[in-house]
């Protein structure tokens, strides 16, 4: 092949590597901006840089190099910290983590609401904002209707989500029961290990035991006042593999 027929690479517009890859660590000149000392110390392009200009330029270069060095160090450390066989997190794993986080958030929110409603000032404020009398008729004084403090204990090796619909205010000692939590899938055995206790302070304690072999499904049941046989709300347990 004749030399004139050969393909030639285009000449690069630079002959040195870019050292400061972070624009923020580059000098103003490199960013195309006037530097802090440019006007004072460099009156003309031919003038020899002053001590100050030279020092500031050196300082910009030093900090640029440091940023690049830090980036490389971080890359090395990150690579060292991650085992080579480790797979990137799957969507399912992230979703499960997210679900767990939301569950924690829901419990924390319920605790927060409960704490707020125990505080008389906060309750007054909520009543004022909502414009409602939150004490429902037919309940004893001091019993908050529409919101019950709940303590929840779940015994399970599986990931479980629990949802309890808002119950009316409960008198201390009210006997509650759930006939069992059933799934729509006939093959899924109902969950029967449910204990509901209303404490002396009106706080509802929910204790749920999910067997290790419980199938992943959604299980629902009605919470009933044992004395009046009236349904008060519903309890849903979602068992996740």
């Amino acid at each position: 092949m004749a030399s004139s027929q050969r393909l030639h690479r285009t000449v690069p517009d630079r002959d040195r590597p870019h050292r400061a890859v972070r624009s923020d660590a580059a000098s103003p000149a490199a960013r195309g901006q006037p530097g802090p000392t440019a006007a004072i110390h460099n009156p003309s392009p031919d003038a020899k840089p002053s001590v100050v200009t030279s020092a500031v330029e050196t300082a910009y270069r030093v900090v640029g190099d440091n940023v690049e060095e830090g980036r490389l160090a971080a890359e090395r450390l990150h690579a060292a910290a991650r085992p080579p066989e480790q797979e990137p997190p799957s969507v399912k794993a992230v979703a499960n983590r997210l679900m767990h986080m939301y569950r924690e958030l829901a419990i924390t929110s319920a605790d927060l609401v409960a704490a707020l409603l125990r505080d008389s000032d906060a309750r007054a404020l909520v009543d004022q904002i909502s414009g409602q009398n939150r004490h429902a008729p037919g309940h004893g004084a001091g019993v908050a209707a529409g919101a019950v403090s709940i303590t929840q204990r779940v015994r399970s090796r599986k990931s479980v989500e629990v949802t309890l619909t808002s119950l009316p205010g409960l008198r201390p000692g009210t006997a509650l029961a759930v006939a069992g939590l059933h799934a729509l899938t006939p093959a899924s055995t109902p969950i029967s290990g449910i204990v509901l206790v209303v404490g002396a302070d009106g706080r509802l304690e929910v204790d749920i035991t999910v067997p290790d072999n419980q199938a992943a499904d959604v299980y629902c049941g009605t919470v009933v006042d044992v004395c009046s046989r009236q349904p008060l709300g519903s309890l849903t347990v979602r068992v996740i593999e």
Binding site: D24, A25, P36, I40, A55, D65, V67
Partner: protein
């Protein structure tokens, strides 16, 4: 504001010390609280709190981090004083001069451990995500600081005399600026912005501010008054590679340079008043202190320039004005 924020950080530190004092350890607790209770500038903790506030949080959100910074700073001072063979710190004998190196070293280690507790307690104050970001920043800063300290000690212990101004600036970036200005600004802004800020924007500003601060510190070691707090001219006895020393050595004749190198090669205990006086006279002869002062002023100019880039978009606030006021302060303080 240095006093206001410094006092608040100090009070938080004291709460941790009080908890530690509940089960006092002989030969340890009193030494651990010694440096933190001596009057200091509280620059780092104040910078952290000011950044947190300027970027949108309240001071309390940054208080545990600020306290941790001060504890770590004091722990490093204990170690620095041992490594440098310093005699005075904040107007009193250094910890190792009073109690001996083994006990002082142990107290410094303990203080360093103490500094981790507020950073861990941060999870309750600012949440796990931000607390982890602060910890990661701390790890980066600690690595940079250790590298900077190693550079300076290595130059001195191996008597490296060919240190340039660029080498000096690199050492100052790592040893001083990362911990004194870049890190407090970054963690404060992380807390203030709820982790939304790009922390790389603080590199230039923090470096210029920290470098000017260090050069001023080196100058004060030569020309400071009685309130300086450390032994005057201690850097000359230590053979510390300051900008003045580098400039004077580069500016002098071949014969004087040989004498320079001979003095620098001596162990600290063998450097006499005459040696220190000769080095100081060489600096005066070549205008090295003025040279360093001009460079510090130039870096302050660069810091002003970077300030407008980093903080220009923030609304005017007391904290923004405080950060701006630190720029001239670093070279005007005495």
């Amino acid at each position: 504001m240095l006093k206001e924020y410094g006092d608040a950080a100090r009070a938080t530190m004291e709460r941790y010390f009080a908890a530690a004092a509940a089960a006092p350890s002989p030969y340890l607790h009193d030494l651990v609280v010694d440096y933190p209770r001596r009057p200091g500038k509280m620059l780092r903790s104040s910078l952290c709190i000011a950044h947190a506030r300027a970027f949108g949080a309240d001071a309390e959100s940054a208080m545990l981090t600020a306290a941790a910074i001060e504890m770590l700073h004091n722990a490093l001072l204990v170690h620095d004083d041992i490594q440098d063979g310093s005699e005075e710190r904040r107007g009193r004998p250094t910890l190792h001069a009073e109690h001996g190196i083994p006990l002082a070293l142990n107290a410094g280690d303990m203080l360093m451990l103490h500094s981790l507790r507020p950073l861990m307690d941060n999870t309750d104050r600012i949440g796990e995500r931000l607390a982890l970001e602060v910890l990661l920043e701390t790890e980066v800063m600690a690595r940079e600081s250790a590298e900077g300290q190693a550079l300076e000690l290595g130059w001195r212990d191996l008597n490296v005399v060919s240190v340039t101004e660029a080498d000096y600036l690199k050492m100052v970036l790592k040893k001083t600026a990362w911990f004194s200005t870049i890190y407090p600004a970054r963690v404060g802004a992380i807390i203030g912005s709820n982790g939304r800020v790009d922390t790389s924007i603080f590199m230039n500003f923090g470096f210029f501010l920290g470098a000017a601060f260090q050069i001023r510190d080196d100058i004060l070691n030569l020309v400071g008054d009685a309130g300086y707090g450390k032994e005057l001219a201690g850097d000359l006895y230590e053979g510390k590679r300051t900008l003045m020393l580098i400039h004077a050595r580069q500016s002098c004749s071949k014969r004087d340079r040989a004498k320079f190198d001979k003095i620098l090669a001596l162990p600290r205990r063998d450097r006499t008043v005459e040696h220190a006086s000769w080095l100081r006279a060489a600096m005066d002869r070549h205008g090295s202190i003025d040279h360093a002062r001009r460079i510090a002023e130039g870096l302050v100019g660069a810091a002003h320039h970077e300030f407008s880039r980093v903080y220009g978009h923030l609304p005017d606030s007391r904290d923004k004005r405080f950060i701006a006021a630190l720029i001239p302060w670093v070279i005007e303080r005495s």
